[in-house]
Amino acid sequence: MIYTLIHIAVMVILAPLFLSLIKAIKMWLLFKKPLPLLQGYNDLAKLLRKEVIISQEASQITRIAPYLVLAPLLTALLFMPPVTKGEWYIGFVDAFTLTGLLALSTFFLMLIGLDSASAFGGIGSSREAFISALVEPGMILVIFALSLIAKNLGIAEAAIHLNTHFPTHHLASYTFAAIAFFILILAENGRIPIDNPETHLELTMVHEAMVLDLSGWYLALVEAASAIKYMIFATLFVSFFSPFGIGAPFLIALAIYLAKIAFLSLIIALIEVNTAKLRLFKVPNLLGIAIIFAFLSLISYYMLGA
């Protein structure tokens, strides 16, 4: 019980750290002076100190929706696979529940964008709808393929099963699922080939366009939500695709888990430095590749896993 609480608290508290880590690695690779790793917390603290200004056009939704962006993600944190064997977990949650919770959060984010009645918010919302509609089939297919490999529909149980029975007979299927899920991480968290989180250039922004009219406490909520979303995806990725170290004692297992997430952040930063942002109309191509790989992972489970 106490392990579960610590795990969830660690995920919530360290979420902004890893986004800052990605940014710091990127700046370091570009020969800039890297920002301190606590920059994410400083930004949140700054936002908490500022006053809240809400557009005249906005309705009640702008006041409610930031909480509803964060709440489904916090709920999803409860369903994450455990970091160690002694930890409690919720076993019955499957791909649909998780994807539904993430989609609910995205839905309220899109409402925020539409509610401020500015043109940018509308652009951002329509783009977000466009991207997340393509992400969801891929995500469900990937998690189902993993459930097939692990022979369990529950997310947490599948991760534990992958740890005890590493799928040496289904390596191809497993690799395809990893490729597809990695593309989905990039797409769903607005990383560079899909969306650049650092610009406020009107033609390219997706996530930033939706939150343009928020300020203060509400903006802090939405920023925290995006950090936690990255944490959810990273946790799922590392516990499915490098299911090692669950057997260790709690503190060591937690350290291994955080190291794996830091490594994933390093890879994402390397990709961000080395690629240019895709044109918006090329985004379906990349996500289509993710869907093909997810489907391939399902098919090759039957075809190659003889």
Binding site: L171, F176, P284, I292, L296, I299, M303
Partner: protein, 193 residues
């Protein structure tokens, strides 16, 4: 491990189908051949067939490293257009590629009793997919790559269906390939002139 290499073989082939850049296509072809060679090496360890070892090493060196490099040299020499958009749009490819895979899976049902039947179905699927690569491009380089990928698929088919292809056949195919590359070079010259 054969499982993983054949899976990666298929995935590089599919990525080649979706790519729109010429040099990227050469890279995928090279990786495709390298994974094929590694699968053949695995098969060699399983069967202990010296001929397969030679074929695998030839595949790794010639097809995996030399041919992509040569193609890049050709492309540089003839100033080929490097943007090669596929004729079949991605929306249709998403449906077409899984359909081909599932179709070949049912196609080989009559020979269910063979041990490597899943690999056979995959290599026939690779044949079809390389055919798609040939018909979806107008550029001659992409057609050539499709032809070579088809040869890779044939090698995979021979390797998995017969549990180690006779060396003679594989060498024959290699010579065909060599001839083809020479002919292709001539073709490029003609197209260029």
């Amino acid at each position: 491990m054969t499982n993983l290499f054949i899976g990666l073989f298929l995935s590089t082939l599919i990525t080649a189908l979706l790519t729109t850049r010429l040099y990227r296509l050469f890279l995928w072809y090279g990786l495709n051949s390298i994974f094929l060679g590694l699968a053949a090496l695995e098969q060699y360890k399983l069967l202990d067939d010296k001929a397969l070892l030679i074929s695998a090493l030839l595949t790794l060196l010639l097809k995996g490293l030399l041919l992509p490099y040569l193609f890049k040299l050709f492309a540089l020499k003839f100033h080929t257009e490097r943007n090669i958009p596929p004729k079949i749009r991605l929306q249709y490819a998403i449906l077409l590629i899984p359909a081909i895979l599932v179709f070949t899976f049912y196609l080989i049902n009559p020979i269910l009793h063979l041990p490597g039947k899943n690999y056979i179905s995959l290599s026939i699927a690779s044949l079809f997919l390389s055919l798609v690569l040939i018909i979806e491009h107008k550029a001659i380089f992409a057609k050539v790559i499709g032809f070579l990928m088809m040869e890779n698929a044939l090698f995979l088919l021979g390797m998995t269906a017969t549990e180690g292809m006779p060396m003679l056949i594989e060498l024959g195919i290699f010579f065909d390939l060599l001839m083809a590359v020479v002919v292709i070079n001539l073709l490029f010259e003609v197209e260029h002139a």
